[in-house]
Symmetry: C2
Subunit: 193 residues, 2 copies
């Protein structure tokens, strides 16, 4: 059984809060859920056609001047589909962490070779942490009394806690690798005497 395509639910989810064009859906996704969900642009237009064919959304034409512009609306059937999916248990996601894979195989190259990768990760994670802290502060201010905000905050909290954990790991790993490198240098010195 193939895993079901998630793009459709993203589209339904976005359209549930109001009609939008394909282009707008893409932008909306990039601005809102991008920290835990990447959608690939190339899937959107074909999926819009499919959802329309299936009656989950409908399309209206709103050209501006000569430029064509199609705005999509969710239908009652689409809302039902979205609800069903939200309440359904998430499918197990394939786990793939390339940095950990490199470290797992790192004995042959030594701690010095992977330390820069961990340091780079630290830097990036520190930036992410700052971004999330700011986003958490701004979200309630930017959308006062918006009933979606509590749910959005929950996803932000996930980002914050996970980034903290990754940062803690990177810090600890940096130390471990340095100690490992020092140990190897010590051994080589000892071997020479």
């Amino acid at each position: 059984m193939p895993r079901d395509n998630k793009t459709q639910y993203v589209i339904l989810g976005v359209l549930a809060s109001g009609p939008r064009s394909g282009y707008e859906i893409n932008k909306w996704v990039e601005q809102s859920v991008t920290h835990f969900w990447k959608e690939s642009f190339g899937q959107i237009y074909p999926m819009l056609s499919r959802l329309k064919r299936e009656g989950l959304i409908r399309r209206s034409s709103q050209p501006t001047g000569k430029r064509e512009r199609f705005v999509y609306h969710i239908t009652p059937a689409g809302e039902r589909e979205l609800r069903d999916w939200v309440a359904r248990a998430p499918e197990p996601a394939p786990v793939r962490n390339e940095l950990l894979l490199k470290i797992f195989f790192a004995r042959k190259v030594g701690p010095e070779a992977i330390l820069p990768l961990v340091e780079a990760a630290r830097q990036e994670l520190a930036q992410r942490a700052a971004f999330f802290a700011e986003a958490e502060r701004l979200l309630p201010l930017d959308f006062p009394d918006d009933p979606d905000v509590p749910y959005w905050l929950i996803t932000l909290r996930a980002g914050i806690l996970l980034t903290e954990a990754r940062l803690a790991w990177a810090n600890e790993t940096s130390k471990t690798l340095k100690a490992l490198a020092a140990g190897r240098r010590g051994k080589r010195r000892a071997a020479r005497t």
Copy 2:
């Protein structure tokens, strides 16, 4: 530019610690790196052929009775390739968290509908945490003086810290959702009077 296939490096990494058959590579991956890397079995045999064609591994035949059995060895070129990859910065991975996506769109279905999903996640995460704690304890005992162990422990620490963070998030989210549900019940009651 297409993203490069990671299966090849997994195979090279496994073979770097000793020759193995395709079947053994698969089992080894499932037992060791499975908590942060899932490899799909169907890729292994085609990839073994390709790596052999490219001279990164070589094959020797070691049949047991009538059953054919091919054992693969890494070549010097393969070791070089592995080293290069390990030292290279990891490619940005697509981030996709389905549970968070559901929660992000959950306002329409309400907190009651997603609470069970979060509770299920809590349970599963608690089990994972126990597994990791045990693995951390056993790893040095099972492989005494193995120079790979420090690196393996680093990946385990990532599992431990991330699982802790996810668990903390799930606990906090569970409370948040219950409060949200109570709030909605309160509002409805107030609206009736």
